[in-house]
């Protein structure tokens, strides 16, 4: 499992270099900040997933919400 971390890191790094850096150079700040925030967030989650952290799935609250609205059982 651990081997995924370097793979992920390299993929992320590649995207940062070839996709994010041009935005910085072209001074597209909105895109740049949006990109930076999302990609760092994704990276953290990826690492956590690989390290087997139990992350809460968004499916669970949605399920609860849906069952609450439609009055479903469980």
């Amino acid at each position: 499992m651990m081997i995924i971390i370097p793979i992920c890191s390299i993929i992320f790094l590649l995207f940062i270099i070839f996709d994010l850096a041009p935005r910085f150079i072209e001074k597209q700040w909105k895109v740049f900040w949006f990109y930076t925030v999302l990609i760092s967030f994704s990276f953290v989650i990826h690492i956590l997933v690989v390290l087997d952290f139990k992350l809460p799935s968004p499916a669970v609250p949605i399920k609860r919400l849906v069952s609450y609205i439609f009055g479903l059982q469980g």
């Binding site: 270099i17 070839f18 850096a21 041009p22 150079i25």
Partner: protein
């Protein structure tokens, strides 16, 4: 970052390459001029200077300059020197040079100039320059005459049925060959000179009214942007003008046959013929052209359709066979039918390498054999065959270095790769990438590889024309000339995107009753 890197590089490169221009002026004195020329061409022993005088009027002195081997001696002797020396009718009163140009020299192409740069370049191109005493002007007389290769069938693109002539290294002969195929004033031929040192002449040819102006403009722009010292082959130019230069696929076509070039011009493509190379380029180049051969259009359409389908099949085979095989025997053993699984397992007992490594090594061995084969004198070929087949194939299996099925697979891969010689570079790369993906997550990796390949192909453009033209929109009109070729009487239109306005190419009804 890459952008920045490139920008920096271009800054450092800002000083364009410059031709070393000569800051001399021609004078009226012949002696001075001769010295001048000798200085320009100093330490060039092939530079010949020949001085002479008129028999009667010793005042008419002249001197010709040419480069040994690039001129036709007979023309110089008979049509330049002899008339000037023995002529009696030179009018000295008027301008000598006019008189000589009009009454003395027997040559179809004579030009007057006083620019020394032009004189020097003409001499370098094989023309002869005539200097006269008392004149600041020079006559440049065309007396080119060097040895060229005879027109023969190109080795790389042989046909069974079809014209046997191929381009040679001489631009003019090539243009003649092309012109003879298309006798129309709409055939336009524009010269360009590329290469700061080589000064290579390049001819852009297209048919006015069929070719797409946008593509023509783009091509001109890209050719003008080339800034290189010398062009030895059209391959260099094609790499400099192609779209997405790092793609393994060509986006500039090449051919050695005038009939192919003419046919492509008729489809609306634009040709580029380069002096000194027998290989002409055509743009735009789309993917399906890899699978089209000129012979397809000359022979029966059933047969040519079958050969096309075979070529497509070979392409698929050659890029995917090792990957699929490795994926099957290492990831998806259940998909192999049981008897086959048993024999594969039997063949692979005590083979030391894992299947992927074996496949890699064998593929590399095959490429080595192919490479040596192309670079080797033909009479050594037999020895190569023996080494390749017997020693590397049979003995390797017997010694349990590799398994027999793997040898079969790699051989099949290699052979089907040879069916498409023009695709060879791309095929090697794709095959290896697929193999890697397959060895990573089996057939799913292979499928992702195929998806990636198709993504790349669909994304590619050649001079603004989608690379997968006529394969990306299931239009019966487009599909007529792709993996099959329909009979000529149904091929009524030129391809979309390439020929924009004048699309009807054939209105004949065929032999229908």
């Amino acid at each position: 970052m890459f952008n920045r890197f490139k920008k920096k590089k271009s800054k450092g490169h800002e000083v364009k390459q410059k031709d070393v221009s000569i800051d001399y002026m021609l004078t009226n004195s012949l002696q001075r001029n001769i010295e001048l020329m000798k200085e320009i061409f100093n330490s060039d022993d092939t530079f010949i200077t020949r001085q002479f005088e008129n028999m009667q009027n010793k005042n008419i002195k002249g001197c010709i300059f040419f480069i040994e081997g690039m001129v036709n001696n007979e023309i110089i002797n008979e049509n330049i020197i002899k008339p000037i020396v023995i002529s009696t009718s030179i009018n000295v009163k008027n301008n000598v040079i006019d008189s000589i140009l009009q009454h003395v020299i027997f040559s179809n192409s004579v030009e007057r100039t006083s620019e020394i740069n032009k004189v020097v370049e003409s001499i370098a191109r094989g023309d002869t320059a005539l200097f006269l005493e008392g004149s600041g002007e020079v006559l440049i007389i065309s007396a080119k005459g060097w040895q060229t290769r005879a027109i023969s069938e190109p080795e790389g693109e042989k046909v069974i049925r079809g014209p046997r002539e191929g381009f040679t290294e001489s631009l003019l002969i090539n243009l003649t060959l092309l012109r003879r195929k298309l006798i129309t004033p709409d055939l336009k031929l524009n010269y360009k000179v590329i290469g700061v040192k080589s000064r290579t002449r390049v001819c852009i040819c297209y048919i006015n009214g069929i070719a797409n102006d946008k593509i023509l403009k783009e091509l001109n722009k890209r050719l003008d942007n080339i800034d290189i010292d010398g062009i030895m082959d059209s391959g260099t130019i094609s790499e400099l003008i192609k779209d997405s230069p790092l793609s393994p696929f060509k986006t500039v076509g090449s051919t050695e046959r005038p009939d192919i070039l003419a046919a492509k011009l008729l489809e609306g493509r634009i040709g580029v013929i380069v002096d000194g190379t027998p290989v002409a380029m055509t743009v735009p180049f789309v993917f399906i052209e890899y699978f089209q051969a000129n012979e397809d259009y000359y022979i029966n359409f059933y047969f040519s359709s079958i050969s096309r389908l075979l070529r497509v099949f070979c392409f698929m085979l050659t890029i995917s066979l090792p990957a699929v095989f490795v994926a099957l025997i290492t990831f998806h053993q259940e998909m192999v039918p049981t008897p086959l699984a048993i024999s594969l397992s039997a063949a692979r007992q005590i083979v030391p390498f894992p299947a992927v490594v074996g496949a890699f090594l064998l593929l590399i061995v095959f490429e080595i054999l192919r490479e040596t084969g192309t670079r080797m004198p033909t009479n050594l070929g037999q020895a190569l065959g023996i080494v390749g087949a017997v020693i590397l194939g049979q003995a390797a299996v017997e010694a349990k270095f590799t398994s027999a099925p793997m040898v079969i697979i790699v051989a099949l891969t290699g052979i089907s790769g040879l069916a498409l010689p023009r695709l060879k570079g791309a095929v090697i790369v794709i095959r290896l990438i697929f193999l890697l993906f397959a060895s990573f997550i089996g057939l799913y990796g292979f499928m992702f590889g195929v998806i990636g390949l198709l993504n790349h192909l669909f994304e590619l453009r050649s001079f603004g024309v989608p690379y997968m033209l006529s394969l990306m929109n299931l239009d019966p009109q487009d599909l007529q000339d792709t993996s099959v070729r329909v009979p000529w009487m149904y091929m009524k239109y030129r391809p979309k995107f390439i020929a924009l306005n004048n699309r009807i190419r054939n209105a004949s009804e065929g032999g229908k009753k």
